[in-house]
Symmetry: C2
Subunit: 448 residues, 2 copies
């Protein structure tokens, strides 16, 4: 808090000269905290923003949440828009444009860009949002391999502003074909007279522009690189993806999986409106209502059995509930292991066997407990046996489906996080009711 | 695959000289893929590993999964162990030591370390694993602020090996107090004659050694920095955390949340044994069995109502199931939003109101559908009304608890991912049975 207050005071009361001196040491995210404080008056926010130099406003726009970028731009004096847009990252510009509903505004803003920036933005807009091309930035530094380290250092000094938040330099030919990579630490640790061709790594880890962002994240995770270039079919470099994009992707994808497992939209968040929340959740509820009628019909089919032994009605939910728990443990584990790449062809049989063995052991333990519980609640040893037996069968069935359904969906290239839960739950519930009430009906003579 | 084969051929058949030339361009993770191929004979793996230079083996050990590091070390010739350990990162060394059960082996390995490395490892072992101190490395570069850029470049050339995968240099005084930070790109873009004090940023974003790793990840996400220094109470720099540690933390924490929501251990994975799997899952199943008896007793209490109208038995699971779905949608959303920091004090009332409004709208829609379904299955308009009404009440109850329980647990500093699901499910189920069977009993005269 005091940090935020100090910054606010600086922004409001420092002389222009003092502010200018301090600006390089201020982090855009800290500045955003200050201007996004709800207690601040609009007028003061406007005043603060317009005291800032163009490049800092550009950084603020880069850092601001996608849906708030344009609102922030509207607080900048109109005559500075063009200069400020020029300072933004091309990928962040595209993100901002995507949120503006009135396309004539986008056209006006595009018209204010330099030709180079404009064609970068137009290029980026052609890629799918969830691919390497969709998350890359077009700002990267390339050089030819005939340069020496000292020349490169001098070149970097010249283009200082572009080097900020770059971690590697790419060696290309005149056609932009990627020939090698040199990290900034290579540059900083090599004697000035060494040619770049001697220190560049020709074995460049790159990703194709249409690679899914989740797979791009796996490449980052594997190689621990801060930046990876994006290429086309002919190995031309198109842009770069950096670790901070990937941190966002991983968080986003984990949220998507967690949400989808519970039947809510991947991108619902705390800012969603009531309408969006309803839309995000009602489809799953309707599907569940409909599938629940399947298991309900099974119960209805056995209503004469229940009428004869009412204790069964009280025990039913325990049997199906336990099947449901085992099912969700298994599909959750399977879905997450597929997502993180820990479960693949190499170990699928092993994991399936382990799942079934664990379900069998858990099934035996729980069935014995359930037998005592059933005997106690049903006031009948025979009911206890039926509860125990159908519990064990339900748990094994749930474990098998909990593993197989997401695995098969994954092989069919369907996101297992979306459909597994409803399929496993419906089938497990139905099976549980069927086994429990079926066994009870078969052995009815012993229960009366 | 061909890439892996090419690499295998190089490792097996290249001359020593050729291999030496190629080594700098080989990524440790690619090498691990080769030697971890199950089809490769042990003898060949041994041969490959021992052709590699010490620093590459050190990098392999750094990269290898924690539980497999020591196994890899055992494949290295005994007389090279000491040299190879010296090449490892201090934090990875600690990770490896933690997996060795026989502590006398750890003592022997520790004895082989240089004094400096040994004290780094001993220091790291004192920190909690899930904190900044527990994930940091002690390899960082510090310098004094009286140096000029050219001197720094020359110094970096001297200590070349230590600069690999460093992104920033830390300016300290003789007591190691952190005074500022200079990024490698600052160094590479500033004229040689400028003193470091002119370009260092005194406003260093740092984290305290006991900060929870999840909070460290939030600092990275906020500032988009590739590296953040770890400090003690007196602002002495102790180590650094880099973006690749954070990518691992985010993936780990998301897995933990997903697992815990389904009632399995945070660290269960595809390598877990049957025993570990059973241990990970049985506690949750037992808890659920016991809590299910609570709702079961409620049903048992109403057994005379069910005996009179058996259709109720078939409809019950639909009512409680729908409450369960709304509950899990709401607690999942709440838990994830708390974890990503999107839900906090500033918007908690807003989000709660939105949740309740959405639950009300969804409740009305689903209740109307359920009314028709209940009328159809129960063959009775009155039963339809009771199904609809208890559904609406259950859904509102589930939404309220689904929001409130994780929020309160979070304020009590209890991880909401662990306990929310069982609490919300038990209470929602019980409430569902109670309302549905209670209403049915009260209006029994209309149902017969």
């Amino acid at each position: 808090m005091t940090k935020q207050n100090d910054l606010l005071n600086l922004l409001l009361y420092a002389s222009n000269q003092e502010l200018e001196q301090q600006i390089p040491y201020i982090y855009p995210s800290d500045l955003l905290d200050v201007i996004n404080d709800d207690n601040l008056e609009e007028e003061i926010i406007y005043k603060i923003i317009n005291r800032l130099p163009n490049d800092m406003i550009g950084q603020l726009l880069d850092e601001e949440e996608q849906e708030d970028k344009y609102e922030l731009l509207l607080r900048v004096q109109q005559n500075r828009h063009s200069a400020v847009l020029e300072e933004m990252s091309s990928d962040e510009l595209v993100d901002m444009f995507e949120t503006i509903e009135d396309k004539s505004i986008v056209d006006d803003l595009m018209a204010a860009l330099t030709q180079e920036n404009k064609s970068d933005v137009e290029l980026l807009m052609t890629y799918e949002p969830d691919t390497a091309g969709g998350i890359m930035a077009t700002e990267f530094i390339n050089l030819y391999d005939n340069k020496k380290v000292q020349q490169v250092l001098e070149y970097l000094q010249e283009i200082k502003d572009q080097v900020e938040s770059q971690y590697a330099l790419y060696v290309t030919d005149k056609q932009n074909t990627l020939k090698g990579v040199v990290s900034l630490s290579d540059i900083a640790t090599t004697e000035f007279s060494v040619p770049i061709s001697d220190i560049m790594n020709p074995n460049v880890i790159s990703v194709h522009y249409d690679m899914d962002q989740e797979d791009v994240a796996k490449v980052f995770d594997k190689y621990n690189l801060p930046v990876i270039p994006v290429i086309d079919d002919d190995n031309h470099i198109l842009g770069i993806v950096t670790f901070d994009d990937i941190i966002e992707v991983i968080t986003q994808e984990a949220t998507a999986d967690i949400h989808q497992l519970a039947g809510i939209d991947a991108d619902e968040d705390a800012d969603s409106s009531v309408k969006e929340t309803v839309r995000s959740r009602i489809p799953w509820l309707i599907i569940n209502l409909l599938t629940a009628t399947v298991s309900s019909s099974i119960v209805a089919y056995f209503s004469s059995t229940i009428a004869q032994v009412v204790a069964l009605a009280a025990l039913m939910p325990i049997v199906t509930g336990m099947g449901g728990n085992v099912g969700s443990q298994t599909y959750t584990f399977t879905i997450r292991s597929l997502a993180t790449g820990k479960l693949d062809k190499s170990n699928e049989r092993l994991v399936f066997n382990r799942e079934m063995k664990a379900a069998f052991i858990n099934g035996i333990i729980i069935s014995i407990l359930a037998f005592f519980l059933g005997t106690f609640i049903g006031q009948d040893l025979q009911i206890g046996i039926i509860v125990g037996a159908s519990m064990l069968l339900s748990m094994l069935f749930a474990a098998a489906l909990g593993y197989l359904i997401p695995s098969v969906l994954n092989k069919m290239d369907i996101d297992p996080a979306i459909a597994s839960s409803v399929l496993v739950t419906t089938l497990t519930d139905s099976f549980g009711f069927l086994v429990f009430l079926g066994l009870s009906t078969t052995f009815m003579e012993y229960l009366l």
